[in-house]
Subunit: 494 residues, 4 copies
């Protein structure tokens, strides 16, 4: 084992000991937690439950005779193709990229290995990368989230895809390995969501990094891993943190959660929002979205915060700022959006009133101390998919959603439009890293250049028939700006 | 004239030639533009119009026999004192600072020269600085905005104040000079709003900087000047840019404008907002505040933007993004909040419908091309203070507010609470610069440390009876945070 | 056939010829339209698809040996009972009624025959009526909406229930007949939803009305039938129109639709609301609810109206009032809430843009001219339950939800809290009619007395921990009011 | 004295003893309370304070030589004319009426005596009535509210106007008398606001009613008097209650108050709304408007109610329903909108926190028990016009606005658009009563026919460029409606 691997392992251990702001927990499981979070919107469209054979044991060929893939059932390709076509209609930015890049192929020569959720929207991204000149090999970043029909459609179109819904942990790593460990093909770009692919290459094929031009990473967890590597001086290629670009942040958090909190609560509980008392823990982007939506629907919303600036924002936006203890007996709903752990403790749960709904919109399942509810005196009753009643000896019931995992991933869907913004950001980051002149990026983690962030936004404006104003020469001069942007200093807060 | 002065002058000229993003215009006037903007909230509470003698020609003494001040009429002190007392009730953070600092005097030995608007709120700040151990001398940063009664009250309390409402330009510089050019006293701290005081010292008493520990600057214009000096390598002391602290930005822009756009329009026009069509040019913090308020009051709001990210935010917030030309014929109100120039041109004005209201909430009077309306075929009719009807030959009237100057300064008032946040930020910045260990700050422009920004916010939470949650040790460790903050990375957008 | 029946038939024909404001259409089908509208929230909780035998052909007994019922499968009773228990927790008003009436039995001696949707909430109502002293026999008012498990639970508890999901038309009338045509038992109260039960008794057992003290009718359609009967002088008992009580109107329409428009759109299309352009046809209570919700979620909403007063309200609430033609090419969503017919015509549909979503929140499936889409050149593609793509020859797709039937019934659920208000109103109306002194009600249609309307509201306040203020004697005298209400004149608009 | 007068007097006494819902109090003052409420928007535009001579003692002639008027100063006519012209631009409905009636003169022969506030908007109404063929004589309904310049302009145009700002009570009745007691002219229509004119004619010239075709009454108080007369069988002509028409109610209450609560609070206190805790007493139209506005500005709003239906609405709209006692210690603002008396008692005032703002948006000055604050231990300090600090012995200050009188009349302005709706309603009511065929109206109080209410609304739609949809013949038939309205049943709640 080469020395850097030992260091990497050490560093990881330390990292486990000192979890950091973005809320990374124990890595005792050998794959990242996010890779095993269930993910309901990834419901299968066709019924394939009849087939119990492992895809690894099957012999499948697509219509062109290739068998360089491993999916549940290649015959589901047609259904998956329709899903991809529907998704294309709502991903205008990627379709626009395809058009603009018809002449030049900015990714010609790129060999991209990817590890993301495999959905219709990912398929549109992959086929866009293909249209831009890249070769791709792909695995799933989550053992539950693959849409088998979409994987089949991609395989049918010639993409080497290795993924199915319900992989075992062994399958998970086997699929990743099949993407990178292939004769006569070596990746020069990585697109990762969660860091497992990057981790695997670091661990198994460190030499591969010599040819790799860069890593594009999408998730909070994966980005955190990269910063740790960088800090430890072990990041050996440039990496792009697309998680913190403005458009992604605002859409994944503020705008998306504003809608999905309502959707997730309705689908699971059919409750009425009007008049309900709700406490939202955390007033970051996610909390702001949840609060705005519930206030608009007639709920009475309380907020808890640890940061006095966010707290003051909550006040100015019309929410009472409280400690959880002050309102825990009276609220109808408790929502966590902090990124912290044990925000809702057993003590809080003991004091909630009958029928109180508890759910988590934050980034992992640590916010509610669900483990504390697994005690003998409490009875769990599964009343619907993703809905448990936890029953106290005196008959009090708490309604726990998604067992404390992410409500919006588990119990609602993510709109294609949001995924379109993310996918476009990923595509642009790949193009940027692949084409950047030597020296522009060093072995470090970078944010997407603001101009590209603005470009992603501009590609999505036509969806809204939105008409941007252009600066006159005189105005650009007055403002000291280039007419094409970037338009704001880096510290601008939007 | 020392060499640096020449360079400073040169740099200034260049600076005039290439105006920059923050919208700096011609400096041909010898005092900063902001120093002559009229400022209505500074209405005088008592009638002193009977007295036409210049304060410079008067012999006045306060009750303790001192005559080291120059105000309109020392006899108005009592009335001013009451205004100060009322303001104290709404500036709890400064009052809290006074209390906490009763034991230690963090500004003991500080000799602060200040140049700001002289209002009751400034008086609370000055008296707080005094309570913290500082000696202060003060002039006005605007020739119209001084509240004579408050100036009198300060003079009566022993503060050397040199300011009155309606100074001439000569008076303006004379007052500033009286603050700094005094035997046996030399300032070691500067608190400036607009940069005129700093400019004066640079020009007249450059040696004074040897003893000065730092500059705290409040305004966009003044901050811009400081960055220019820094860029040119001519900043000879550390400077604190308090303009861009989070709390100040959000309060001065988003939250304050959300209220003052309604107030300014009502006080000037008594119009009804419901059903009105409004176009807001610019969707920065100010534009966001204006749009939110008008939408909530039942107006139909259109937005124009040059930045695709802000444009996408406008879309997601429910506003049609248009070019001004598309809606200019149909709207009832046009509001500029861009920081740009000539956003509303004569051509736009020609096409507006009868009775259209035009006003500016941006940072200077350049946004509406008011000069273009000074042509012979148009008739101006002043219908109220701050309200002009500009009448076209065919009888069409445009209602122009505050002659295109800032509506919220000219036609509404700034709530004491907002001023409290600003004043607290200024006080903390002074304390920080004055007490910072050698080397922490170099000859550069700094943002307020995030922890202080958070501290300012926390001092204002009791006003709302808001209860902050504290991290447990375990949680702080999990998040990798100090329990007392700072709680966010520097790039956090709030 | 007695003469009145002939007249009733005649009147019905006329009624068909002159459809009226509330939008009653052809009665050519022998059961009311509402009785065949599909109703998704009535999803079955257990899988009973294995059993194809008609319940009419089964021999079933409950555990007490009774076979006076006809349900799908008596063995599902336990599951149904749990659903009822869950519903009880959200129907505090009925539970409160049970408690208050433990001593006196205001419905002692009442024999109620009912015909409503058979859901857990109805079960709570029926068991409340039982607790108040009534005997009940029940059929379903809709051939699809029965929850088999709940019906089983009621049958198990001894209620003679005749209903199952998926009745034929013949089954429908057979069930109703089994409720009324029973030896040794004759109803003295009717609770109807849609008027089919009332119609059946009029047609088959007119003499039964001699013993009947009154009819309580819940639906727009049924109420309209009663007013027609009354107008024609053929109503032979008092009837209570509970459809137009204040609380029911506001909850069924404004507050419920404010939430269900979002829910229905999300569950069917997973679309994002932010930035979408929507036209809402009709600005009554339903339209107001839809507009408020979509505006709050960041949609840009246009309104069409025929009534200038509602139109002016739309303006003041911040919506552009347009004709449908003006915006039909640009909108992303079209929602009808008019109660009118052919509001959206084929011509409109032809002009919509690709992917436009079309749905109906009004009271019947006439608002969108769906029939006009059943032409050979258009392809229909069912993409999900309740979602059709209608595809034009040029590839344009329109997304039609629920085939133009009610979106909120078909694609979302009705919160228990809303049903609680309706059920409480029904219970109070039954008590009022049953106990009213001779002469208080004549053979006419009555609104619920305002005091009872207020009582229904007051029973629901504890849900929100809401504390009502009581008038002092002095205040009551000043206002000329009884301290216990009613508090408003009849024409008050709320 | 004729018998009916005695009875009228008796009835009035009784009426005083049993005050009723609309909150009529003691009539011990000889003129109606509303006639002495101060009214700030009626600020004089020109300075006429130099002239202390009573108008009754002046000899004035207009330019045509007429002296049949009595105003402050006929020379101010020109200034008043400009105000009228500005108002005309915002009263499109009346201007449209003028145009439509150019051919036929629906008020030809009408002799209208009026008693209303005399403002520019009233002038537009009067001149419209003139254009429609009527002769008018006019007095003021309030001793403070007359705009002298407007009165002068009307007199100059030939209208016999008898009104000035600052009348004594004797002047008040003298002016009214001069309107009706004139040789060779006898009114046949009455337009009243408050009932004082009607009262005077009843008392002094009862025979005049023989020729009078009807009364149009605008105010709550006046309408109440008419209903009392009608109940007592003493109303001798038809009367039209225009106060309760839909458009007037919604605009005067909901929409107008939504704006004026913010305006009134800002102008008096310059406070910031964000984060403030507010309790609003009463959730009728006025309360709904206040709550919506403050919630939108970021205040935290509590509501008190006596009516459970309105209470439930408050809950569903997202407001905590409390008793005043529960929150009185913590709120920053108390607003009354109940129409009740002593809603805020001395006990409440004693418990409020320092700096709490107290004001009234309800219909009279009884809601806050201001009298209870006139005790020796409390100090009153007038800090601004309409703003008093009431100071407790321990230094606590309560900020009382407008001494508990109507905040929106005293401290903000009523938008011309609202006045336009009222004035149009009055004009249409006059036309209807004057032209109604014998027998349509009896000696009773009527609401404006719904069709006219709709007509008023339709005349105001062009202001918003709002486009009404017309029913097709087929649709009208389907709905059973006339294509031109009325579109709703009388009980419709909007």
């Amino acid at each position: 084992m080469p020395e850097w691997m030992i260091q990497f392992a050490d560093q990881k251990q330390e990292f486990n000991k000192r979890p950091t702001k973005i809320g990374r927990r124990s890595l005792s499981r050998s794959i990242s937690q996010s890779s095993t979070d269930s993910y309901s919107s990834a419901a299968s469209y066709t019924d394939s439950s009849d087939d119990e054979t492992s895809p690894r044991d099957k012999q499948q060929k697509n219509s062109k005779g290739s068998s360089d893939f491993c999916v549940k059932n290649i015959k589901q390709a047609e259904f998956g193709r329709r899903e991809i076509e529907i998704a294309e209609q709502e991903m205008p930015a990627l379709m626009a990229l395809r058009k603009r890049a018809q002449g030049e192929k900015p990714l010609a020569g790129a060999k991209i290995v990817g590890c993301t959720h495999i959905t219709a929207q990912t398929a549109v991204l992959m086929e866009t990368l293909g249209a831009l000149g890249a070769q791709c090999r792909w695995a799933a970043c989550n053992i539950y989230s693959t849409l088998n029909e979409v994987a089949a459609a991609l395989a049918e179109s010639g993409f080497p895809v290795f993924a199915w819904k319900g992989e075992s942990e062994d399958d998970f790593w086997w699929c990743i390995d099949r993407c990178v460990n292939v004769e006569g093909w070596q990746p020069n770009m990585i697109l990762d969501d969660g860091g497992d692919l990057t981790h695997w290459i670091y661990k198994k094929y460190p030499n591969m990094f010599k040819k790799i031009k860069g890593i594009v990473e999408e998730s909070v967890t994966g980005v955190h891993r990269l910063y740790q590597l960088s800090k430890a001086g072990k990041l050996c290629v440039p990496a792009m943190n697309v998680n913190d670009s403005v458009t992604k942040q605002k859409f994944d958090n503020l705008y998306c959660c504003r809608e999905s909190i309502l959707d997730g609560l309705k689908r699971t509980t059919d409750m009425m929002f009007g008049g309900k008392q709700v406490v939202v823990c955390g007033y970051g982007e996610v909390g702001k979205g949840c609060c705005a939506a519930l206030k608009a629907m007639g709920s009475i919303v309380y907020v808890t915060e640890i940061d006095p600036i966010c707290a003051l924002q909550a006040c100015m936006d019309g929410f009472r700022l409280v400690k959880l203890n002050e309102v825990i007996r009276q609220v109808d709903i408790v929502i966590t959006c902090t990124g912290n752990k044990n925000v809702v403790t057993r003590e809080h749960l003991d004091r909630m009133k009958n029928s109180c709904i508890v759910c988590n919109m934050g980034h992992s399942n640590t916010e509610i101390d669900v483990a504390s509810l697994r005690t003998p005196e409490l009875t769990w009753e599964r009343v619907r998919s993703q809905v448990d009643h936890v029953i106290w000896p005196d008959g009090k019931r708490i309604v726990l959603l998604a067992e404390g995992r992410l409500l919006n991933l588990s119990c609602s869907t993510v709109p294609t439009f949001v995924l379109s913004i993310t996918a476009t950001t990923q595509a642009l980051a790949l193009i940027e890293l692949y084409n950047a002149p030597e020296g522009r990026y060093k072995q470090d983690v970078y944010l997407l250049p603001k101009k590209m962030d603005e470009y992603v936004a501009s590609l999505h404006l036509p969806t809204f028939d939105a008409h941007l104003t252009e600066l006159t020469d005189e105005q650009a001069k007055y403002l000291g700006l280039n007419k094409n942007g970037p338009f704001k200093p880096n510290y601008y807060r939007y």
